[in-house]
């Protein structure tokens, strides 16, 4: 059987639109990055480009800091609820950065503590990075607004029942961000708040455990939002 010819546009080169340099990505990644230009590309969306940033770690350990890919969705939202419940939800901010892992993890709950902690952290310090590439990104940015809305609802659900409550979330900007993690004993802690994560988050060499192979606990069960 003779092979069928696909048009040339079936393949698009993984090169930076700005500098023409090769983009960096592991074979299974869906996000490719250009560290010199500080840009991340999502080829499945026609090479949509996003700024690439890194969070400056506030904590240090004895081993090098490792960065894991996250999407940072800067958004504002409006909670539509009756007056009584609206008062109960006052603790929840109405805008801010929502950080979601760009990698898949079957035990990842409501984004866990990092999303809430970074949302309420006074000024997450980011910088342009030190030439690091960021591997392991597989999540599509298209679903982030839905994830953001559900995350806000999950925070509200811990305070009061959310029956009949709606959240209208409006995205402002989207960035691809490297979140620092530091080895802590057998497990990991994030480099900003010191939140603990189990050893199965990634291997000793910093490689993310592949999706589907999680013998132990994954992301921690999210805690109650701080009062």
């Amino acid at each position: 059987m003779s092979p069928q010819r696909e048009p040339a546009r079936a393949l698009i080169p993984l090169v930076c639109a700005t500098c023409g340099g090769d983009l960096l990505a592991d074979p299974g990644d869906r996000v490719a990055v250009c560290p010199p230009c500080r840009t991340a590309y999502f080829p499945a969306e026609g090479m949509a480009a996003y700024p690439l940033r890194f969070i400056r770690p506030a904590l240090r350990g004895t081993e090098p800091v490792r960065y894991l890919p996250f999407w940072k969705l800067e958004a504002e939202w409006v909670i539509r609820a009756d007056a009584g419940r609206s008062r109960q939800y006052l603790r929840i901010p109405s805008e801010g950065p929502l950080y979601f892992p760009a990698f898949w993890h079957p035990r990842f709950g409501y984004s866990g503590d990092i999303t809430w902690a970074y949302l309420t952290f006074p000024g997450v310090p980011d910088f342009e990075g030190e030439g690091d590439s960021l591997r392991g990104g597989v999540r599509s940015p298209q679903i982030l607004p839905d994830m953001g809305r559900l995350f806000i609802l999950s925070c509200m659900d811990r305070i009061a029942d959310i029956s009949g409550v709606e959240v209208d979330l409006r995205p402002r900007s989207l960035e691809y961000v490297g979140v620092p993690f530091i080895r802590n004993g057998d497990g990991w802690i994030d480099g900003l708040c010191g939140l603990r994560f189990p050893p199965t988050l990634m291997g000793a060499d910093g490689a993310l455990a592949p999706c589907g192979d999680y013998p132990g606990a994954g992301f921690m069960v999210p805690s109650i939002p701080p009062r």
Binding site: P3, Q4, L11, P43
Partner: protein
């Protein structure tokens, strides 16, 4: 049927091989990395067989040492052929989210005053009324909601496992925990290593019956935000051998060498051997009973007629036992019994085509069912 696709590099025009395990490919001419945009692409991976021929043979003969099998099966069986199969599994990963309607349960203590039940009399003010109080625990449910947001990764059979007597759950257990060992599957290269079974179950059916089935729960509004599907080929070995005039088949997985499925001949001599002590015990009991009837004063009735009746009943009982034993022997010898190999090497006696419809046949059925509870394991 997987179609062969020829791709051209957009930079140098060179022919590029079809991607295997991801949408990233590299042009062999200009060495640039490219992203494949084709809509019908499904990444394919496979698990490398880890057992050598010698180890597989050892596992096979170890399984043949089961006491349920004929004693001489190792010496007298002839392996007809052996072949490798690559069984496809879907690896469905993604994110789902939504709001689940649920209930909140609260345990409350309902304090009752039995005295108040007495014709409406208000007795609570009487001294000692507290002695009539009792409490009852009950569960109150109130409607509640829960937000669901999380990633998932599931394994599903992509081909009909029943056609191979396979338990699809067993295959998933084999593959689970080994995804990091999976390699890119070039179908043409894989076909040189063994027979690659086609993914005959449409992935849409898997998505509808498996991943998205949570939406069928009443009140659930949980949707799939994102999904990706990959195909993972798991290596199996099928060994077909002849014992006597029957051909038998067994399937092993090739990572740890565990048996997964198969049908083996049943060793009747084992049952016969076990029956000898039982027969001896029965004979001893019957002898003791006869001796008791003959010499024990409790049976002395003083009448010849009564003694005749007593011995007649004894004779009827012995003949009844003999008839049952012969029927059981007949059913044992003529029932088409075989040993079914289950996941992990457990074995049980199966009677696939029915036993003679006699009392002895019922005993044989009982034996087969009982062996299912014994579950001997042959694998290490």
């Amino acid at each position: 049927m997987t179609r062969i696709v020829a791709l051209s590099c957009p930079l140098c025009g060179g022919a590029v091989a079809q991607p295997a395990d991801s949408r990233q490919v590299q042009c062999p001419y200009c060495r640039k990395r490219l992203h494949y945009q084709g809509a019908d692409f499904t990444p394919r991976l496979f698990l490398q067989p880890a057992l050598g021929d010698g180890e597989l043979q050892r596992r096979f003969f170890e399984m043949m040492g089961s006491p349920l099998l004929p004693r001489m099966i190792r010496r007298r069986s002839v392996i007809l052929h052996r072949r490798r199969l690559f069984f496809p599994l879907y690896v469905v990963s993604g994110t789902r989210g939504g709001i689940l309607d649920t209930v909140r349960e609260k345990i409350v203590e309902d304090r009752l005053r039995d005295a108040d039940q007495l014709g409406g009399m208000r007795v609570s003010r009487f001294p000692g009324a507290a002695a009539f109080e009792s409490s009852r625990i009950k569960v109150e449910t109130t409607p509640d909601t829960r937000v669901v947001l999380g990633d998932f990764s599931y394994l599903y059979s992509a081909a009909a496992a029943e056609e191979w007597d396979l338990d699809s759950g067993a295959l998933q257990e084999v593959a689970k925990g080994r995804l990091d060992e999976a390699r890119a599957a070039d179908l043409q290269g894989l076909a040189k290593l063994g027979e690659v079974l086609e993914a005959t179950i449409p992935v849409e059916r898997v998505m509808e019956w498996g991943v998205a089935s949570g939406r069928s729960v009443a009140g659930a509004n949980v949707g799939l935000l994102e999904t990706t599907v990959r195909i993972l080929y798991v290596p199996l070995v099928e060994i077909v051998f002849r014992y006597g005039d029957q051909v038998h088949r067994v399937l092993f997985e090739e990572m740890e060498g565990k048996p997964l499925a198969g049908r083996l001949p049943f060793g009747r001599e084992g049952v016969m051997t076990m029956g000898l002590p039982a027969l001896a015990a029965l004979g001893l009991l019957l002898g003791k009973a006869a001796r008791s009837i003959a010499y024990d004063p409790i049976w002395r009735t003083g009448s010849a007629k009564d003694a005749f009746v007593l011995w007649s009943w004894y004779g009827v009982f012995v003949i009844f036992l003999l008839a049952m034993g012969l029927q059981f022997l007949h059913a044992l010898l003529f029932s088409p019994m075989e040993v079914e190999v289950m996941t992990g090497g457990a074995q049980r006696v199966a009677v696939p085509r029915g036993v003679p419809d006699t009392a002895g046949g019922a005993l044989v059925r009982l034996l087969a069912d009982f062996s299912g509870y014994l579950k001997r394991r042959n694998s290490p």
